[in-house]
Symmetry: C2
Subunit: 298 residues, 2 copies
Amino acid sequence: MFIEKLGEFGLIKRFKERLNNDSSVVRDSGDDCAVLRLDRKMYQLFTCDMLVEGVDFTSRDNPYFIGRKALAVSISDIAACGGIPRYAVVSLGLPRNLTVNKVDKIAGGIFDLAAKYRINIVGGDISKASRIVIDVSMLGVVEKTRLCLRSKARRGDIIFVSGALGGSLHGKHLTFEPRIKESRFLVEHFKINSMIDISDGLAQDLWHILEESGVSAVLYESLIPINKEASGINSALYNGEDFELLFTVSRAEAKKISAAKRYRFFPIGEVVSGGFGLSMVDRNNRERKIIPGGYRHF
Amino acid sequence: MFIEKLGEFGLIKRFKERLNNDSSVVRDSGDDCAVLRLDRKMYQLFTCDMLVEGVDFTSRDNPYFIGRKALAVSISDIAACGGIPRYAVVSLGLPRNLTVNKVDKIAGGIFDLAAKYRINIVGGDISKASRIVIDVSMLGVVEKTRLCLRSKARRGDIIFVSGALGGSLHGKHLTFEPRIKESRFLVEHFKINSMIDISDGLAQDLWHILEESGVSAVLYESLIPINKEASGINSALYNGEDFELLFTVSRAEAKKISAAKRYRFFPIGEVVSGGFGLSMVDRNNRERKIIPGGYRHF
């Protein structure tokens, strides 16, 4: 049997069954970052993301933004857990006929974004490869009281996103701003019950929250903010790589968040009990089931 | 200009010039691991290594040992700093027509070695790729007083290796045992001035120590332990991926290490002052210069 038959999530499930970790590991899978015990007040966050030429970017994309994206996706994972990014190591697989100029631009994208978020680039590895591969591993910290997981959504929670969705393939997947400031604003001022960043698409990533939390959800089409470049609601539901935050809070917190002036967050639905999964009320007030879907590697 | 003209080390030097880290980073480049402040007693070690099909292994190699090697090279980096490996994340780039059976074997090699050294596998990422790519990032800890760097070799130090060198391409590069036990024995009982693991070859990796420490060295050919599979002294000097420890200690410590019963370490030369670099006294008692060299990706 080939892995494409098992699928990306089938493969991940297969690996998860083999995990056998000690009690210093608070969370090892099923979230945006691993969560490790650090000290009395803080957890350490640990995440990795691999970008491959021809899959996550093309050889014609601006190399500065290829490098920038490689770091940004890991920063976004730290943001999804409510944390602060601190250190990164970068492994590069490079074809030998790559120009120094292009590598300099990739590095420029990495180092500029690292400087912006005060992330220390502390190491790396370089290997020959037939196509460009960039793997970034990142460490962050988060106060124990502010850690956000996918698994704590509660019945009655209001579901929010941090910005417009869809159409990321028109360029946003390379140029997006990881939502660190928004995430820290949220965890410092409100009680966030669950959070994830949208990398696979709204339907798929909301489904991750529902599965991990054992709840269901209803979305309202008219409330979902859609990018101008996006082709419509299906693009918002199923296109990946928006890298907006998707989070749930109690009704009381939702009111406070909506009243806050610093950042705008968009309520798009609510968490309900029961096992029916995910549905959406459309503009004609008809409710329909939403099948989880989005970008899959296999 | 293509990167193959600049070379692997030219490329690394280019990146190093852009590093701009805060005071929590004790060591960010020029060593086997990054060294980060952790608490009063301990440093955190952080390292990454990327293995690429067709470069670090072939499609005909035993997949169990491909996975095992991916973890082992990072464990070896932690050992080179005198530390204890604790956590790893694994990024996999996989061709879609790979069999589930082969992926299971790769995972088996990773998980079995992790279990042996009590390393928690806490996360990962899976991407489509045209050839297998495995990138492991690892965290470890080391007591501040036991941290080993490349940069502290001193004139008069005796140079040791932990085992026979050369011929790693005959299989040892896939099956080697990372020298964690030997490293911990050394740092717990002796004062180790400098240490590195041999991944590029004895000549190249000793050169790293000399450069970082600002010293020179003389090797004695008759003292260098050579693998039975190796083709001779040049194989020991220039073949990479032995993954033995290479370290320097004072004469007083050297005597104690040679008298210790638990592990055997081989004295192979001494550190001298001056800027002439590296030389070797051959079996005819003639001294000749050794040019640093070994495996290069570009």
